[in-house]
Symmetry: C4
Subunit: 203 residues, 4 copies
Amino acid sequence: MGTNRLEAFSDGVIAVAVTLLVLDIHVPPITPDETLLHALLHNWPHYAAYAVSFMTIGIIWVNHHAMISRLARADHSILILNLLLLMSIVLMPFATELMAAYLRASSGQSLAAGVYAGAFLLMAVAFASLNRHILLARAHMLSIEIPLEERRRILARSVSGLAPYLVATILAVVSPYATLAICGALAVFYALPIASGGEAQPQ
Amino acid sequence: MGTNRLEAFSDGVIAVAVTLLVLDIHVPPITPDETLLHALLHNWPHYAAYAVSFMTIGIIWVNHHAMISRLARADHSILILNLLLLMSIVLMPFATELMAAYLRASSGQSLAAGVYAGAFLLMAVAFASLNRHILLARAHMLSIEIPLEERRRILARSVSGLAPYLVATILAVVSPYATLAICGALAVFYALPIASGGEAQPQ
Amino acid sequence: MGTNRLEAFSDGVIAVAVTLLVLDIHVPPITPDETLLHALLHNWPHYAAYAVSFMTIGIIWVNHHAMISRLARADHSILILNLLLLMSIVLMPFATELMAAYLRASSGQSLAAGVYAGAFLLMAVAFASLNRHILLARAHMLSIEIPLEERRRILARSVSGLAPYLVATILAVVSPYATLAICGALAVFYALPIASGGEAQPQ
Amino acid sequence: MGTNRLEAFSDGVIAVAVTLLVLDIHVPPITPDETLLHALLHNWPHYAAYAVSFMTIGIIWVNHHAMISRLARADHSILILNLLLLMSIVLMPFATELMAAYLRASSGQSLAAGVYAGAFLLMAVAFASLNRHILLARAHMLSIEIPLEERRRILARSVSGLAPYLVATILAVVSPYATLAICGALAVFYALPIASGGEAQPQ
């Protein structure tokens, strides 16, 4: 199969997943006891989590484009690994709401933050797996020949992106705020021009 | 009409349907009585149903691409049968949540699992019907001529895919877990390289 | 502007609107008082409304394609009228749920059915308005020249489609079931091969 | 990267965001105390906010197309600024529901209207920022050379669009109705043929 429809379907799934994030931001109920200002400010974890998840998924989309554009065509194995990657991306609205809802709870906050960073880690692993499969096992399907050394360099960047998300996941035990801060810092880092050596690189 | 916009619309509908599956996974409410870990683990039917539905719809998308790519153009009858197929796919977020919500209930669990497998069966029937219509009644619209024997072989694979979903639907009377296990096993089977003789084949 | 991105955006909006219809079908809460079978059967207005709305929007999509494919390019006025058409289509998940929720209520059922058929009428009016604008006021933007007589014939079909929805809206005063039946019959009629003189025609 | 997939992804996100607006329009619960007619009429802020937000996002989509179509290709910085623009657009379903829910509340209504107009302002700022970056900093990526004077003229229109939304945001302190009226008037103005000097221009 050509890669056009693979891209179109992936774009569609990622676009919907990223937009569903807004459903995690709830309108505060009208109450006599609390001002709207206070209620809105109190919801800050939802805004922070929204921004971090949106930008991270957005950067994954940028990288996904770079990854797929190297392909001349796709076979069954690439389609299935791509479905697994999309399946991990679609989990983000859930993981994002979980983290935001529990960030200030008296119990469960570490687990929620761990699931959040763990979902990022899962996306990064799925991305690196697909990238590895394309660059090594399906190198004959690339649209232009890329020297093995260069392919290994691209892959090393994908793999090196796993480490900070692993750290963020583990740090959730210590502090869920640290986890959120790391994930946010990574999103900012990958958004900066310095992070792109020709292509954006969260993984 | 050309098949481009037919593909674009189908991609869009399938991409949204598959992404809405995440809305079936609810964030547990914060309660003093139950730990988050316990609540998350307790929700396992939702994760299992999510994964099974996501992969099955994903494989249907792969097959849909293969089916439509054989066409040079589409007429009214193909568009309508395709709408019916999409209508069955869009039901999946409902059927998935129904099954997950009732899997461990003391009553209704068999019916819920039957509806779940029945929804897969409906998709498979809609897919096979469209495929049959394209390969037999609209063979003159194919982009390249395919011998009747080969067309019958493709169709036989679509039709043979109905049987296991019929079995899964009937087995819901005995055990809803068996139904879920069969649907999951089928998703894994069709995802494996062995299942694709040039194209993935859940139907 | 070319019509490619106009089609892509319209496809996206219609695909999402049609898929959101599934959110109107709720999983019955687990109760000791009622069996799941009874609860599911009791929800039949939601399934009927889902099927009618899905097929009708689907046929509008088919006609939208035919309408836009006549255009070589689009100007500001076409884009704005198209946005108004999309705005009416996106209302359908609301109108569909309203009708289904109130069909058997002791009060409000006629109004709900009237709003439902009225929403179809609104779509049909928005469609006919855009079609009229394209065929008469923007005839110089058509990709191939179409004789005035033929353009009037196409338009007459769009306009003639308004009448049955107007009847269905008015009949809501008498019986909401009649309204639903008419809308359903129209969806079936337009889906039949006989309804397409080269293109499907609900409007 | 070419601009095709940038457009496709942006189209997808905007199409989903605009369609999710319908989720803000709730079906009134069936109650013995209130007629459906009264309940539906009482919900008018939701319809007004829906229409205003839908048309404004729609016009932003039109302008987005004009902006991106000037580009021959996109680099990392354009993709990131485009993600920030999309992130502001996706907030609209939340801001729209907030405004509609609080418009007639006894407290919080000014803040809610301020957030609503502020969200429009944010979109306009994000749009103007991306437009400025494209027209000035990335002028060498334009598909056809545009004289500096002409580029400044296009940009001035983007920037001049900020003022009315700033006024609407500030006026929320005085009257949330005035804010809604201004946002609505702007949507109508930009939809009128007079507003398009070759392209629609809310910013």
